[in-house]
Symmetry: none
Subunit: 519 residues, 2 copies
């Protein structure tokens, strides 16, 4: 069984994504998680580019990693200077990692127009830098930047850059599709043409600008690469890097090519979620393999077929990556869907029990009113459990008031007051906010957190509002969906009303109660 | 230059995506947009599956489409019944489209285990259904469901299903990777193997479960397909369908294979946004080609290099798809769009006038804040005309207050008070409503209708709310779109704020002012 080396660059390339900004502590937490998953190399940053990255390398030395090696990233020396005197190369050594990845130019256009030096000098820069780092007992990987664009314009020169690195002692040469513009066929052909010349580890590094980074990475492995670079969730500049959360299972499930162990593969969904959380990004529901919708079935035809034979509408078993099948409750949902869901929740709902009929009726009524439980499974679970009296109310509302004002200078003011009864005590709080919903959200948390401190662990991560009967204009019913998350999971809750504040209130209450129920 | 046929299934497969729920009116708006873009076939829905889809076909007949043909989707007849008596086939005919796409089983497992019929009967079902629809003068396309899984397990049988459809008169056979599990290489090999047997149009339909739908679709075209199915933004069940917003430019830019015209290609970014808006989905920033970040440069090395030579870190010119590079200040595409729009409005805006520059700057600032004028042209027109002092304010706001309460019995109460100055007079009114927005809407109308009686002719006909920066939870910015109509026309207006009441207020004011301006 073939094996590939995994090289993760979430901490460097991934952190270049718009909206991601990682602290040193965030980076350390992600590194530990990647080590636990079984990633071979973790690119920690570019120590020559900013002090935060240097601090990471200092602190990373204290991590007790079981499997991964931390690598430092940087460029070849500048033109006409000795590597020992190049600030960037010095920073690479100062970072102190046992493995160093340097990138060099493989596209003649870049050498001439961006570096503004000669093709020969660029080869010397590669040779000198690799040799120098080898003399310092480092393991060296060579990222051939823009290799594919370079190979298209000047194949001999592109090839000479990686051969130079190889001869100078690099333990791996990596072909980079830096602009992400390669089609799968073309990239595969180049990987095959170059393969006979590579005597060391042979890597691939793809970007997703043509929405092909995963296909390209897998095709490259099939064409002879044994080292794959990518990021968790495909984070990265522009359209992102190759997504390891898809590459790892695609290689394993479709081709039998191993990287992390089968047991660790079962943690992939959780790792994807964890990294999203630390990066403060919402995990895309539609993300292949590990996303919330990846194995969700909605259409009636599909649902019936999946219940008969799971492979009929699934390309693999979701359990392999720690994900799960979800039968979505929707307008089309019948009794069998409800029973399947209840089974998942261990509620012991029987086909002919009076509960089942009542709940089914209630569900149909609610869906008619505009509730949409396929998008709010936490509210669905609470609905079932409330109806089956599986938990006691955590609090009772005595009343709330939300005031929103605008004055003649355009100043806005929002305030919410709320009165709740918790464990026999009445709590009355007020809160200002960025708009009425935010104020209400603040007020409910303020009222409850003293009684239920774990509410401090959760926060709202997504918020959707949909107008249902649009023709009613501003008197239309609105459906509010709120996603909340803590460190382990995320959950959606729902509210429906002609009054948007009331719809938000319902979703907020469910959000909080679900957290309290699950702990 | 090779050409491919584009077949869009956003309205059917796309609407199966979790979180998407389209009204008939939404579907009609999307169909018009796709027609304008130059899509060849628009799959409108499955008329046999629900009454909403049938209503769409009825109303779609009144659309004045310039290029696209609407197609109806459904399955082959059920086992052992004549097509003329099959409810699903009857519904397909009733829909009245000139093109009908039927799907049939190509995987023997599905025939036996899901349909529970014989392999022979399945072939007869395909033959009879195609022949029957041909006898009704329909153009027929055959979607070979699960073709690739079927071909893996029983290639002769899978092949016989498409040959049967072809012999019965189908004008196109489409190989479907229904479960989305195919790797690019394998899919390409099958497309090539089957190609010599196909004498009609040869299609591909991919799903994204392995994150390869775009790569697979492009590879299939390179291997001989001339018909590509997909959806705008890759919407679809589970992990989505093949993304036409990536396939169209990838084929054109990388391979010179045309579909829509180069001029229409420049509208692709706008179409992606528009469809996202109507579906009430956030367009992913990292979406290749058309996403906000697709040509955004963050890394210092990249930025410098891009300023020297754009191709150094970009795989194509963003203008080709109407997108833009995010580090440059001057924006010619923005200016030309603005001038085109101003021309439509007869505002006499000149390329080099100071007005143009100021408005362009203002527009950029507003778009950065989250305004989205392509979905709210009435607000755009008001913005231009206000800036060019083409009309006087119809009223001035002195202030408003909105109160929203809930008591311990669950009773809700909403009230708005408003003070405006109109034609020198101050008017102070109050209004209750179904929720705060409805109350505010009532109050503003009450205050103004005495001065402007024609406001009684208009009403609000649609209302959309989108959360912009979802991660901010209830403190997130929201964008409100309101559609208003009177007897002659309808118009969309927009408001953006962290405060939903304020965002609604902005859209309401524009809605009323537009009516007063247009009479």
């Amino acid at each position: 069984m073939q094996k590939v080396i995994l090289y993760d660059t979430t901490l460097r390339d991934g952190s270049q994504m718009e909206g991601i900004s990682l602290t040193v502590n965030d980076k350390l937490r992600i590194a530990e998680k990647l080590d636990d998953l079984g990633i071979d190399y973790i690119e920690g940053g570019w120590p020559g580019s900013n002090p935060k990255d240097m601090e990471f390398f200092k602190k990373a030395k204290k991590l007790k990693l079981k499997h991964s090696k931390i690598t430092a990233f940087g460029s070849t020396r500048r033109p006409h200077i000795s590597p020992a005197k190049d600030a960037n190369v010095k920073a690479l050594l100062k970072a102190g990692s046992s493995v160093i990845t340097i990138f060099g130019k493989s596209w003649d256009l870049h050498v001439r127009e961006i570096l503004k030096t000669s093709l020969d000098e660029n080869l010397k820069m590669i040779k000198d830098t690799v040799s120098y780092l080898k003399s310092k007992k480092k393991k060296v990987f060579f990222d051939a930047e823009h290799f594919f664009d370079g190979y298209r314009h000047n194949p001999d020169y592109a090839l000479s850059t990686i051969l130079t690195a190889q001869e100078a002692g690099a333990e791996a040469v990596i072909l980079c599709d830096t602009n992400g513009g390669m089609l799968t066929n073309d990239l595969e052909r180049v990987v095959m043409e170059v393969r006979p010349r590579v005597k060391v580890s042979y890597g691939i590094h793809c970007h997703n600008d043509s929405e092909m980074a995963v296909a390209n990475s897998v095709a490259a492995v099939m064409a002879g690469c044994d080292h794959v670079q990518g990021t968790i969730n495909g984070y990265g500049e522009r359209c992102g890097n190759a997504n390891l959360c898809s590459i790892i299972p695609a290689l394993k499930v479709k081709l039998g090519i191993t990287s992390i162990s089968d047991n660790k593969l079962k943690e992939l969904t959780e790792v994807s979620h964890y990294v999203a959380e630390v990066c403060n990004m919402k995990q895309f529901d539609t993300q292949p393999f590990v996303g919330l919708s990846a194995f969700a079935h909605k259409g009636g035809v599909h649902v019936n077929a999946v219940l008969k034979r799971t492979e009929s509408y699934e390309h693999m078993e979701p359990q392999i990556v720690g994900n799960r099948r979800r039968i979505l409750v929707s307008e089309l949902s019948g009794k069998s869907t409800l029973l399947t869901k209840a089974e998942d929740l261990n509620l012991g709902l029987k086909k002919d029990s009076p509960h089942t009929k009542k709940i089914l009726k209630l569900l149909q009524d609610l869906e008619y009113e505009g509730y949409h439980f396929e998008a709010a499974e936490a509210s669905f679970e609470l609905l079932l459990k409330r109806h089956m009296k599986k938990f006691k109310k955590f609090f009772e509302l005595e009343g709330f008031r939300v005031i929103n004002e605008k004055d003649d200078k355009g100043n806005l003011y929002s305030e919410a007051t709320i009165k709740v009864k918790v464990k026999g005590k009445v709590k009355h709080t007020g809160c200002e906010g960025d708009g009425p919903v935010n104020a209400l959200d603040g007020a409910i948390r303020k009222a409850l957190v003293g009684f239920y401190p774990k509410l401090a662990d959760m926060h709202l991560s997504d918020f959707k509002v949909r107008v249902l009967d649009e023709k009613a204009g501003t008197a239309a019913k609105v459906r509010v969906l709120i996603q909340s998350q803590d460190k382990e999971k995320s959950w959606w809750t729902i509210g429906v009303s002609e009054n948007i504040i009331e719809a938000c209130w319902q979703a907020l209450v469910d959000s909080v109660e679900y957290k309290l129920l699950k702990g």
